[in-house]
Symmetry: C2
Subunit: 390 residues, 2 copies
């Protein structure tokens, strides 16, 4: 379903021969059939950002995007001017197919860094995808499959506003996931009647509390792109607060699905820090804990090792997060195994069998809180990233 | 040999029944027999620093340490006042054995966080170690074995100054290794005639370019301690520059040995960043690359994946390290596989069979440089930290 759930969008996913996996769907096209073509985007802050990111950042700057072409099988990152020309040529080809300016076409790529794309396959794939465009649930599903790399399942979202307008979305991402942003390509569509400015504000807020709060492996990608497109096809002008809330929900759902499909993960870990002096302080503490390889290994071994939680917490400078180490409590799956910075209930009381692990840290220093998500670190993660070229 | 290589020091390592591994040597004693008892220390900056760190930081503050007692098998961290009392009682016991004030005894512990030590075993072990004290090479070796946890081999250093004075040292550390500091206990001895002030200055400088530039897993410990003790037994006042250089060499050797024994590591990775505007800029870039799980997995799979190097480099903010992404080069084991921020020579040309991997990054932005060391990330690292309680 994904992006075609919102009215006014058609999509396709085809096997274009870009991926090294023969027959894998590797090229997706999403077209906004209007009447509006408002759009907003958020991109990686990596200084080695990929050619398609450079292109799309420019394309979305005026608030208008007519279509998005996305490929897996190659990131087109660190490819210099030839790479940028590939993104431009791809956009021009799609523009001529859908009857738009090249500047209204966004381009997204994901895969190995440092190699040019097989451009002939990309352009032929664009034509095939254009021929296959449909507004059906199946077409949306095809698109969500075509952007997968090490993902083991497609990740999509559908939400409906009170007055009948809709949001649809898809995302890919499994490894190279770190805050600011997660390594991922994401397209969210809506048929609400909203301006580009509204879209950008809603997207910034939604990304900030979702994709910017997940961390699979602390590695920031060169290609992260999140696009939000509005067709206005529902004819409904949504309540602004409801609109913002639903965009945030869509982002949160997709981010949660990335964690649920983190490379090799056997546990999804929610870390909530309460009792902080500010939200930023809570976030800094949560991120420090989420980044601990030792904790992530312990969780994969079903060991609620609170020593590795507090030792990570202890690396956050006092000026960033003021708290008294002797007043900190840590609950894992509801059992307070660390009390006043020391041992609490026995950790053997913690049931670690559920896939989802809840770590609740109370700094007892204030009223602010934040939640971040991460995955455990498993043999399978090492296997995926040591033994495969990706 | 280790700490007994310098004249004026005796040592012992005994099995005190602290470790869960029956019969393992787990308690070491190092005594400075003078005539001097000058000392300096550097400690973890972790806010959950362990009881022995709190004790020893206080003990070394006046520049005098007569003896150091070290145990593996338990970190005595996050153990509150009872833990601090254990460190105090241990120091008092050693003090009465060696005829000193408790304030002149340093205490170091390493092992699981959050549990008190079996104090009876520690105190009985202290007496047994005192009985076994000797200035022999074997006694020094015993001490270096007794502080090991997941270490697979003891790590020691011996250096000799021109005028006949000496430095000896031992360190433990294998996991929970991150800059500021590495997770480790380290005792360095010298028979040079030097003041506590000289010792502290030499140690600060030595640690800054060694233990603070290694990173096994980005996890900072609660127990890191580096002590430098001077007996003055050689009667030689060394040239200050030579003294500083030899202390730095001892730190560098021990830090390098930690990397060589990193948990589960199959490659030791040297990352040198040149062409930076400042040393701090070079260091920030080196640390960002050293922290990449994805790169560390790639290296364990013998894949010189430069995309993962530059994508990590790209996360360093421009105000921290100014450089132009299109001018960066990366050599792995001498082969320039990234040129001007894009693909260079084919990565199949890189010989990845040596254990030591050299990554040389030229930012082409200035004249400053820095080197950091890390390990690769292997199945064995996950196994050690998921499947064992440590």
């Amino acid at each position: 379903m994904s992006v075609t759930f919102a009215q006014g969008f058609s999509a396709a996913g085809v096997a274009a021969g870009i991926s090294s996996v023969a027959g894998k769907k590797d090229l997706a096209l999403v077209v906004n059939n209007g009447p509006l073509d408002a759009a907003a985007g958020v991109f990686t802050s990596n200084r080695f950002c990929a050619a398609p990111v450079q292109w799309s950042r420019h394309a979305v700057a005026d608030g208008h995007i007519k279509a998005v072409i996305l490929n897996s099988g190659g990131a087109n990152a660190c490819t210099g001017k030839p790479g940028y020309e590939q993104s431009r040529t791809t956009a021009e080809t799609v523009a001529s197919l859908v009857g738009a300016d090249a500047d209204d076409i966004a381009v997204c790529s994901t895969g190995l860094i440092g190699e040019l794309l097989p451009l002939d396959h990309v352009l032929a794939g664009a034509r095939a995808a254009h021929d296959a465009l449909a507004s059906t649930a199946e077409a949306g599903a095809d698109a969500s499959h075509a952007i997968m790399t090490t993902d083991t399942k497609p990740k999509t979202v559908t939400l409906e506003g009170k007055a009948g307008w809709r949001i649809g979305g898809m995302v890919k991402g499994s490894g190279m996931i770190a805050p600011q942003l997660a390594t991922m390509l994401c397209v969210i569509t809506t048929d609400a009647v909203v301006s580009a400015g509204q879209l950008q504000a809603a997207l910034n807020a939604g990304v900030d509390t979702s994709f910017n709060r997940i961390d699979v492996d602390g590695c920031m990608s060169t290609n992260d792109t999140v696009l939000l497109l509005a067709s206005g096809a529902s004819g409904v002008e949504p309540d602004p607060d409801e609109f913002n809330a639903l965009v945030a929900s869509a982002c949160a759902s997709l981010a949660r699905q990335i964690i649920g499909d983190g490379e090799g993960a056997s546990h999804d870990i929610r870390i909530t820090v309460t009792g902080a002096t500010t939200e930023d302080a809570a976030l800094a503490c949560g991120r420090a804990v989420a980044a601990s390889n030792l904790l992530k290994c312990a969780i994969s071994g079903n060991d609620p090792n609170w020593g590795r939680i507090v030792s990570s917490l202890g690396t956050v400078p006092p000026d960033v997060a003021p708290y008294d180490a002797t007043k900190v409590t840590v609950d894992v799956n509801g059992v307070r195994i660390c009390e006043n910075g020391g041992a609490g209930r026995d950790r053997s009381e913690v049931d670690m069998t559920p896939r989802e692990v809840h770590i609740d840290i109370d700094l007892n220093a204030g009223d602010a809180e934040a939640t971040v998500w991460t995955d455990d670190l498993t043999h399978e993660y090492v296997h995926i990233n040591a033994d495969y070229e990706s």
